[in-house]
Symmetry: C3
Subunit: 211 residues, 3 copies
């Protein structure tokens, strides 16, 4: 069946394709914090793989993505070296703006694939959705913790984790409605990415706690 053979490929593309935007977010934060070469690599790596690795530790899944695909660690190393050689402070803001869109794609892809991996373990819907959110957002959370900042995802009032949350529920619903797995994954990812793009386009922000 087409789905059976396409789905693993799609999933690998899912986990691989969005990594660049996440790694660059770590790389730029490390540069702003004046970290050294080791710090740049570690923070870029955490931003790229931290969310998926934490999800796999929680789900007790092995091997991690970066263990099964060690060539991506070489890619990350090359990216960091290239950035330190060629990227200058004046490029940071444009790079960040350009990365908003692959990052939104990554948000959708990672939240959908994370939710799907948890559903494959027969976990309850809300737990699966939470795993999707962790996959999509905790790389950034770990990046900010290591850089000694309160994580942006927890304080900037922008819809980010919330889009991942919505996408995850679409996947849970689609699976319960017996939609083919590949279509459900695409629908869920498109929901999260679409909501994020909408939030970016409209500047919508989450309601504040008027405490």
């Amino acid at each position: 069946m087409a789905n059976t053979s396409l789905l693993p490929l799609l999933q690998t593309l899912v986990e691989a394709g969005a990594t660049l935007a996440f790694a660059l977010s770590g790389l730029l934060e490390a540069a702003r914090k004046k970290l050294d070469a080791v710090g740049v690599c570690v923070v870029a790596g955490l931003a790229a793989y931290g969310g998926g690795t934490l999800r796999d530790v929680l789900l007790d899944r092995r091997p991690f993505f970066w263990v099964a695909h060690p060539e991506w660690l070489w890619g990350l190393l090359a990216l960091c070296i290239a950035a330190m050689a060629f990227l200058r402070a004046r490029h940071f803001a444009p790079t960040e703006r350009a990365m908003q869109w692959p990052d939104a794609l990554g948000l959708g892809l990672f939240s959908a694939s994370g939710t799907q991996l948890a559903l494959a373990q027969d976990l309850p819907g809300i737990v699966a959705v939470l795993m999707g959110v962790i996959t999509a957002t905790f790389g950034g959370v770990l990046r900010d913790i290591v850089c000694n900042e309160i994580p942006t995802a927890l304080r900037d009032h922008q819809p980010y984790a919330v889009c991942a949350f919505a996408g995850g529920w679409v996947l849970v619903g689609a699976q319960q409605a017996d939609m083919p797995a590949g279509a459900a994954l695409v629908l869920a990812a498109a929901t999260a990415t679409g909501l994020r793009a909408l939030a970016l386009a409209t500047g919508f922000s989450l309601p504040r706690w008027s405490s």
Copy 2:
């Protein structure tokens, strides 16, 4: 036997009942740090379940409490929404004072249950006690790390982890003296809670390192 059927129930109550006080501690710290809705939920969840989850990762136990009881995640979400709707800054200090007592109960219950789960894996006494301390205190430690503070439990000179440590040793001793499991659990929890209550009542503080 009564004990055989009561113990799991007691243990579930143990893990569930103290969660409210812990979640509220996270919720209030998130509010003070002006986190957004996502941050409030994440920090409340970390404070509530972080310690037990870290213990389970270290002990390689699955499922986590919040995976086996996903209804508690809904409860946590409802708590956060209700707090953001109704809790105002003037309520924070009184809420915190009122929570000192359920928190002391949680300290006893979590340290005893954490120690007991480690003893059930035949781990050495000091490791089991340490797992109890981690269960009872690392939710708060993770809460403070995410909020970019040095964890209160490590710097406020109040007996907190120390009470959990003492309660854990009571459980180790009671088990070696072949006390029935339920009684040992209650005795250990009462020790930790009692010591914490004594510390709160007397304002006792740990000796300082006069370096």
Copy 3:
């Protein structure tokens, strides 16, 4: 064969011998941050065992070193109590200078043993080397995160993780060249320690990102 019986002993010595320098680094940072007795023990313990424990969680290995050797937890506790009783602020800088050398030894030993444990699981070279680097450096990273600092290992431009990285690759190469396991371990550890000692002696620092 001599190697077969010597290697586990060597490895235990490896994991045990370097712990003191790491624990003292945590102990001194806790003292500088004016943590309480609990904080001193927790930060010393994280510095000593955090790297190896994180590696074991990632590799899904149990038991942890401090679970298999609980007497080392007692030793750590005794060290912390002794330090709080006898160590004064005027001793901190000399202690830190004296510890540079056992710390360099620990860097070599931990990175080699961490790499070797990963290679024993047939992990790819770069993943194994990364596990060695994590073993050697993440105790210090966790120590600094808990103390609310950007980790020294990521920002001080001193070759530290880089030495562990080089030592790990020596082990990977030696194993591929069918060198006896014990000799490969010693060669790798000596490479990392030697590079670190060279860096300390020459004051060499990593190239900066001139962004």
